[in-house]
């Protein structure tokens, strides 16, 4: 019923408009100047719209690429997380994993800072410091005595439960920082 009423109203309005049509004056005299202005206006509008569209697409794909690279760092952190889960993992492998993580993070963060310099003093700059700190927490043994929390024999590492919890905690914190960095990139 409601739809029928709306159709009726639209038909009435259309009929009224058609009824008024003869009152309009059609003037087909168009000056060359107006025509050129009209064409130029349309051309410029299309051109500007295309440029805006292209730059937006470029920015979106650039940010997507950066976020996928940050995801790569996150995967390296996940690998370290699974490496330390059980006793007897290789100390050298852990050290090498941290070097790969640091170098990748440094490379990607330099890229982010180049594209989004405004992020420089936020998440990105603290990430490298965080990675160094985590490496020290996970691998450092004190001089002159055996570590009470990290025991190493024949390159195989065992953590105490509290040490493992500590390392897992800082790795999780790093992953949260990486997520915040991804959010920051998408906001640009």
């Amino acid at each position: 019923m409601k739809n029928k009423c709306i159709c009726l109203l639209i038909s009435f309005a259309f009929g009224l408009a058609v009824g008024c049509l003869p009152k309009f004056i059609w003037d087909f005299h168009v000056s060359v100047y107006s025509l050129i202005t009209f064409i130029i206006t349309i051309g410029v509008t299309i051109y500007v719209a295309k440029i805006i569209q292209r730059s937006t697409q470029y920015k979106v794909s650039q940010n997507q690429m950066l976020v996928s690279k940050v995801n790569d760092i996150d995967n390296l952190v996940k690998n370290i997380h699974s490496l330390i889960q059980s006793d007897g993992f290789s100390y050298k492998q852990l050290i090498a994993s941290f070097q790969i993580l640091y170098l990748n993070a440094e490379w990607i963060i330099n890229g982010i800072n180049e594209i989004h310099p405004q992020l420089n003093n936020r998440e990105s700059s603290s990430l490298l410091k965080e990675i160094r700190k985590i490496q020290k927490i996970s691998t450092y043994t004190p001089p002159g005595k055996e570590s009470s929390e990290i025991s190493i024999s024949d390159d195989k590492v065992s953590y105490t439960q509290s040490k493992r919890d500590e390392v897992v905690k800082v790795l999780s914190k790093l992953r949260a920082s990486l997520f915040n960095l991804e959010v920051d990139i998408y906001r640009q």
């Binding site: 100390y91 050298k92 050290i95 090498a96 994993s97 941290f98 070097q99 790969i100 640091y102 170098l103 160094r132 490496q135 020290k136 691998t139 450092y140 043994t141 001089p143 002159g144 190493i152 024999s153 024949d154 390159d155 195989k156």
Partner: protein
């Protein structure tokens, strides 16, 4: 006199340096310090040369390895100022190794 003696951790010791003590595994910081670093350091000190330590080319240098190698020099009786004058570091791949080594030597000197 004031020549530069070169020492590459990767070439002269191992591409995969590891732990702090030999009891923990092979290619330890203690082994590097005693067998490779100190003989070169003695040579450099005797001839008033500089000793350039190339830290590139390894799969990674752990903080315990670096602390034992360089902080351990202080504990072995070497003077911090003398070491800072003699030692030079090249660490193009991982820039912070150089800073860490200097920090470990200073911390070891403070703890003496």
């Amino acid at each position: 006199m004031n020549n530069i003696i070169q020492l590459s951790i990767a070439k002269d010791f191992s591409k995969t340096p590891g732990v702090r003590f030999p009891s923990e595994g092979n290619y330890s910081g203690e082994e590097f310090r005693d067998k490779i670093l100190i003989p070169k350091l003695k040579e450099a000190l005797e001839n008033h040369d500089k000793l350039l330590i190339d830290m590139d080319g390894t799969s990674g240098l752990g903080p315990s390895f670096l602390e034992e190698s360089f902080g351990g020099l202080i504990r072995k009786g070497y003077n911090l100022d003398e070491l800072l004058k003699t030692l030079r570091f090249k660490s193009d791949e991982v820039s912070y190794y150089k800073d860490d080594v200097i920090t470990y030597m200073k911390e070891a000197a403070n703890e003496k």
